[in-house]
Symmetry: C2
Subunit: 164 residues, 2 copies
DNA sequence: GGCAGTTGGTTGATGTGTCAACTAAACTGG
DNA sequence: CCAGTTTAGTTGACACATCAACCAACTGCC
């Protein structure tokens, strides 16, 4: 708690951190811009639609979507209201669990995803993969998985001894 | 414009993209949480203070800060108002250019950065570097720089021929 | 010098995200 | 079967971000 001189970053780490931070600032922003320009929606909205488009019945519980997209329940409610008002999504109570709400992609929502995905993927290709070798793609996958796992809350690495 | 079947992602690319997207969702969110908990500020606010702390005279033009942090001028104005109201920052017109505004870290702002940085760096260590080998740190740097450069608007890769 | 255009920054209106309080349905233990 | 608790989602109040309109200072040019 009162550590005064923690592990500072090495020169290599500093460079890597600057590069990573820079990527995390500019890449989402660029993808947001592309989606806003070409499809009139934000990255989070696209994530929701895209996820639903890959689910059986194009349907998923709100809470599942929320944890996938890392947004709070209330945030997802607002997003769903917007998507619903544009006719891309419908909501109805889950017949198997009256508490839950099922979100389903409409036909228009499906078509929107189908129209939007190619341009989005092309943007990812240009911004991410065009500059990387096959080896770097493999490296990126491993590094990304490692960091994502560490940063995901509630998924602490298995540590020896009791956690309580 | 009418490409109907663009370059789709290979299996390797898809895995890498999922990992990268996952990292870009969870890492900023985790860093935001840590700063909110330990220092009562957001990541953007910390970025601004941290940048100023490294500038000569702990001073920088608003427009320079804005482009560094990838926020709009108006957004930065609101951020600066908040930081000013907490006594961490002052603003005054640039004597050399009456249009510009210089933002300067106050002594309290400097101390806030000094107090906050160690915990933030420790969080970066734990979330990013503890899981990576030295080789992966080097790989991350190269990959991050490449992608960041590609995603940064207005910095198109040098292409042959006139751009105008 | 003076007017047109540009640049740097602020502000008002509006849209979006967040937090806490709330409702309703489903478990849980007597 | 009925309180007490947990879970899923919504809503109101508020904080924050965004967009367009704006103002002031500089720049270029005749």
């Amino acid at each position: 708690m009162t550590e005064q001189t923690p592990r500072w970053l090495s020169e290599e780490q500093t460079q890597a951190w600057i590069a990573l931070a820079s990527m995390m600032v500019w890449l989402p922003s660029a993808l947001d811009d592309q989606l806003e320009r070409d499809a009139g929606m934000t990255y989070v909205e696209y994530t929701v639609l895209s996820w639903l488009s890959m689910q059986p019945g194009r349907t998923s519980r709100m809470s599942d979507v929320a944890s996938l997209a890392n947004v709070s329940a209330s945030h997802l409610t607002r997003i769903a209201i917007r998507l619903e008002s544009r006719g891309w999504l419908t909501r109805r109570p889950d017949p198997n669990d009256g508490r839950a709400t099922l979100a389903t992609l409409t036909e228009a929502g499906w078509e929107k995803v189908v129209q939007t995905a190619p341009g989005h993927v092309e943007e990812v290709q240009q911004l991410v993969f065009d500059g990387l070798s096959a080896a770097q793609v493999r490296q990126l996958r491993v590094i990304g998985e490692t960091v994502a796992k560490a940063a995901r809350p509630g998924l602490c690495l298995p540590s020896p001894g009791p956690t309580d």
